[in-house]
Symmetry: C2
């Protein structure tokens, strides 16, 4: 009969039987449960804290009590006294299994009172970082066994921490002897190992116990760079900061930056320098905010769209400016942070997630990693709307991806009253079904335009324009109120009913705001939105065809723009396919979350590398059916696709294309240039 006890680790749910007296840390390691430890079981680093769950856990068929774990011994008591171990917490390196046990591995082990940030996604990321701190006590030199100091250090690391071959970074060679002596043969080594079959690398060394190590997770967007400073030992985000991408001065959108490189001999270098300098400033900012030294940053993960990815790496992005949109490198990139002049710890490493395709970058890969379509059974659609929309659709079985050239309309460009999302911009619009009178909200105020005190609340900025989400809403409301037809034509007949409908040459406009500046939605504006959303939807539809599905189960809007879109209006316009509204959500900076995952757990690097290899890339420009989908998607919400789930929640106007009841509007329908072109080809 075995006397082994059952130990269940939460939240992973991993379980196993261990002999009485096994340390909880050993049990965790044997089960592959990641419990941090720097001191290697000496009860000095405090990183290996766990909590015992008491009670009977019927689901797991296990009863656990405080008696199932050894009482606090002298070493643990000494740590608890010196370092103020929170009540209920135990050091798993010292506590041993004495009975059946349910152990919770908290992910928020606080050492040295780190600042905790709430900005970043609060999700708990299981940890298995590529950089590990390892405290070792090295044998002193022995004339009879003249192994070098570094060699004895490596030997001890292999012995105590189970590494195989260990190579040392060149810059450490002159430092090993003085650090070993300063630490009186006790040192903490930072060991980097990313791939399992890599030789481990000694990348940094400190005398004595070093109990802090940090990493960066950074999303380099075309307009914004967002950076998190993360403790590699607790997983906490200790500081976050953002900055405008300084490359904006070389061109607002990506293609104009590519043009800049093509036109200017030093353009690529100037842009690389600009983005690296800004990132270096952000590093200083998060280090200052987190109260740490740059030297304590040992790892970094970057995600970016393909052009920013290339410029950051110093690669000329010209090839991405035209077919076949050849990436210089699509796979994950590993290098020393020093190669990028980031001025972190001299041994710090950098990892860039793989790019999916020439227009679907490492940022889309990071969003995929974060949202995990490949980890689940439901058919998940991920849309990152920008000048180029990046679209990923899939589930555990299969994932496909594409980009669609939506153009800048969703960002307020090409719209007569359009502007960037900034204070003064209209972001929400409602139009009265009867009077056709609008009301709206602007960025910077919580009031609607018909609320008392609204003018005062918008203050100095006033109402300056309409941003992307505002445009989506006003066009959708115009459709829902019948101001525009399913085909997107503004109904001039309504001018008789409302002074908001005004003639504008041969077409009509809707006056959203009479005040100065007068803001109108013109027929051209509606067309621009139609073109943009048709491109997006056609791309999505192509992917749905590849997946052989008619509906999607879940929709995730990624990116800043996605955070502001009301999913209902997006669906009314037909940007996205029909879906239960409760299953449509914005996921904020999912790219940043994906970067943090890759920073904190190298298994996530393998996961996304493998996933990106598996993802089927669809080049929309090469797909014959794209035009057909595009033409159908010019209609609101779509010429042929039904939106039953949307219709169940929103009263949609009767649909011409589906019930074929005539033109339904005041004026004869004019085909767009695109439609005509497509018909000629079709």
């Amino acid at each position: 009969m075995t006397t082994d006890h059952l130990v269940l680790f939460m939240p992973s749910g991993k379980r196993g039987r261990f002999p009485k007296g096994t340390t909880v840390l050993d049990a965790a390691r044997q089960l592959g449960v990641y419990v941090e430890s720097v001191c290697g079981g000496r009860a000095t680093c405090g990183r290996c804290q766990i909590e015992v769950q008491e009670g009977h856990f019927a689901k797991h068929k296990i009863s656990s009590s405080k008696e199932s774990i050894s009482p606090v011994g002298p070493r643990e008591a000494r740590y608890a006294e010196k370092r103020d171990l929170p009540a209920g917490r135990r050091l798993s390196c010292s506590a041993t299994v004495e009975g059946d046990l349910v152990v919770d591995v908290p992910q928020d082990t606080v050492i040295n009172a780190q600042v905790v940030r709430k900005d970043a996604d609060a999700r708990v990321i299981e940890r298995f970082p590529a950089v590990h701190l390892c405290y070792v006590e090295v044998e002193e030199p022995d004339m009879h066994r003249p192994l070098g100091d570094l060699d004895r250090l490596r030997q001890q690391l292999r012995k105590d921490w189970g590494f195989g071959r260990i190579e040392a970074d060149a810059h450490l060679l002159p430092l090993v002897q003085p650090i070993l002596r300063e630490g009186r043969w006790s040192v903490t080594a930072a060991v980097h190992q990313d791939e399992d079959d890599d030789a481990a690398r000694l990348i940094a060394l400190w005398p004595g116990l070093k109990n802090e190590a940090y990493g960066l997770a950074c999303d380099i967007g075309s307009t914004t760079i967002a950076m998190h400073l993360v403790s590699l030992l607790s997983g906490r985000v200790v500081a976050s900061a953002g900055a405008s991408n300084p490359q904006i001065r070389f061109g607002e959108d990506l293609m104009s930056r590519v043009s800049y490189v093509m036109m200017n001999p030093d353009g690529r270098e100037a842009m690389t320098r600009a983005v690296r300098q800004e990132i270096s400033k952000l590093v200083q900012k998060v280090a200052d905010n987190g109260g740490i030294e740059r030297d304590d940053i040992l790892d970094s993960v970057f995600v970016a769209n393909p052009i920013m990815h290339h410029l950051f790496l110093g690669i000329d992005p010209t090839e991405l400016g035209g077919a076949p949109f050849a990436l210089a490198v699509s796979g994950a990139v590993r290098m020393n942070a020093d190669d990028l002049r980031l001025k972190l710890n001299p041994g710090a490493r950098t990892y860039l997630l793989p790019c999916i395709a020439g227009h679907v970058g490492a940022d889309a890969a990071a969003v995929t990693l974060s949202e995990g379509p490949h980890r689940q059974d439901r058919m998940m659609l991920i849309v990152d709307v920008g000048t180029n929309a990046e679209i990923v659709l899939g589930n555990r079985e299969r994932v496909v991806a594409a980009s669609s050239p939506t153009g800048p309309a969703f960002e307020g460009a090409e719209i007569s009253s359009g502007q960037r999302a900034a204070p003064g911009a209209i972001e929400r619009v409602r139009i009265d079904r009867q009077t056709l009178e609008p009301r709206y909200r602007v960025i910077g105020s919580d009031l609607w335009s018909d609320d008392p005190g609204f003018p005062a609340s918008v203050g100095e900025t006033g109402v300056t324009g309409v941003c992307g989400s505002g445009i989506i809403e006003v066009v959708a409301e115009m459709y829902l109120t019948g101001i525009i037809s399913e085909d997107g034509v503004i109904d001039g007949a309504l001018a008789a009913r409302s002074p908001r409908i005004v003639a504008n040459g041969r077409t009509f406009s809707y006056v959203l705001s009479e005040a100065e500046p007068r803001l109108t939605i013109t027929q051209n504006d509606v067309r621009a939105i139609q073109l943009a959303k048709a491109a997006l939807y056609a791309g999505i539809r192509l992917l749905m065809e590849k997946q052989e599905v008619e509906t999607v189960d879940v929709i995730r809007f990624a990116g800043a723009f996605g955070s502001f879109i009301d999913p209902q209006y997006a669906m009314v316009l037909g940007l996205i396919p029909d879906c239960e509204l409760e299953n449509v959500s914005a996921v904020g900076n999912a790219a940043g979350t994906g970067a943090r995952m890759a920073l904190l757990n190298r298994n996530f690097r393998r996961e996304i590398e493998e996933t990106v290899r598996r993802i089927e890339k669809i080049e929309t420009a090469l797909e014959p059916k794209f035009q057909e989908h595009f033409v159908h998607a010019m209609a609101l919400p779509n010429k042929i696709d039904p939106f039953p789930k949307l219709a169940a929640q929103v009263q949609l106007p009767p649909r011409k294309g589906l019930d074929d009841d005539g033109d339904g509007g005041g004026r004869p329908r004019r085909r767009s240039r695109e439609e005509r072109a497509a018909r000629r080809r079709g």
Copy 2:
């Protein structure tokens, strides 16, 4: 019945059976016979040349004829025409097996008429370099499969060349796209792989076929730096150069350089800079002499004694200046050449052989690799005489090593008429058994001093002093002629017989040259040589004890000094143990040869790493019996050890210690300070 044909490769002797039509290159690869190929079998690089041996080879039971190989095909004919393939040579990638075949793999494949140097050891080194040139034709980018350019390159390298995982050096990322396009998707990649389980690294890339790659093999001695430029593709030494170690200005010998570091805050940096700069100059020199660009140098191997090894790597050598003589790093060191500011190709690698112990460096390891005591059954003694003699003794079974503090006497220091080996220095001495008159030769002249025309032949320098090998000879001759006793005492009674013996205070001297400057060998000079040779011999004797042998089979003198010593005189003095004189030889710059081996074949790196791990290190200072051996070794040739093999070839004076026939000399024997001290202890 098999129709396979027997193929035997020479000089390796590897053999196997292959189907008719197998290319000879494929057959070689399957047998693990290294045949170079850059173009991967396209008959364009010409590196895979072989020769068919015709006739019946009874020993191997195989008959081989020109009919056993396919006739020259069109591709091979085209190469032969364009590139002038030597008569009898075939391209193994195109020639196929058509019958039983004996194939010679010549090691001197000449492409582009490389300069051939004779200076370096002419031995043929079987090749398996860590850096390999690989020509590939990469798929063009495809929008349907948006793998990056680098990723397709890696894919092709894996496919054509059998690599596993390939990582690219960071500096190449921006270069991959333009180089692929310049080469119209045909490029030559330099791939570095040292350890089998390393990921391969792409370290350099050229458009089209690149058919040249070089490496450096460099021995950084305390006084001299010697460098060979070697073709990694043919194994040939294409240029060699040497320079004085510029650190001499910080201190003549190693310990004074360590002192300089200890006394001067910037001493370590100054010395590191000095040696690296000198090496960089030598790189330029060998590149110029070889007619190549520095950029074509892709690998480099350095060997050095521990202090030079540390200073070259930028490591403070202070710890090596005192017990326990702790090396900062003893294992082999791998890094980028760029980390050492060597300005080779930006992707070039550097390898340093392991150090054996605090006083037995990577140079001794290189000598060991070159001479290979561990590869044979005979008991081989390797002696590298310098201020510190490095001694290695062993065979296949077991290798032991030690260093012995011989002091600088062998280099002419501490000798009243001593000087460095330079023109004007006496290097050979004979003393007439009857008249006690000397004759000698000096460096810079081929004549003996009693030859007609000698004064003119020494020219301006004149006769300026006695160098190390001269001192060994004069003292040995003084012993053989009875001028000094077995105990090293100059016999004053002989002053009556020859004016060459003169009183010098309470002792006597021997006048070697009457001319200005007058050169005498004083009693103190003899004592200095006795002390030096006793230290060396005592170290050797300790190692022989560890090996439990009374004699050695083979003796190798390594280093410059070793090249000038006459083994017979060294043995008469008892520097080295008794041995057949024909088995004693100087091996010149064996350290440089070892470095070349490690450069040209990475298996030799593993071999020496493994051997150094196995070598047992003896710290002479800690061995109680060292003193006893030292005391016995003060006598000429030795107090107790017989030299029967030497006695069979040289008529030695009767030995007092062995036949105990009294004092044998004119004056009572005076014990040396060391002997007296040892006796007190013993």
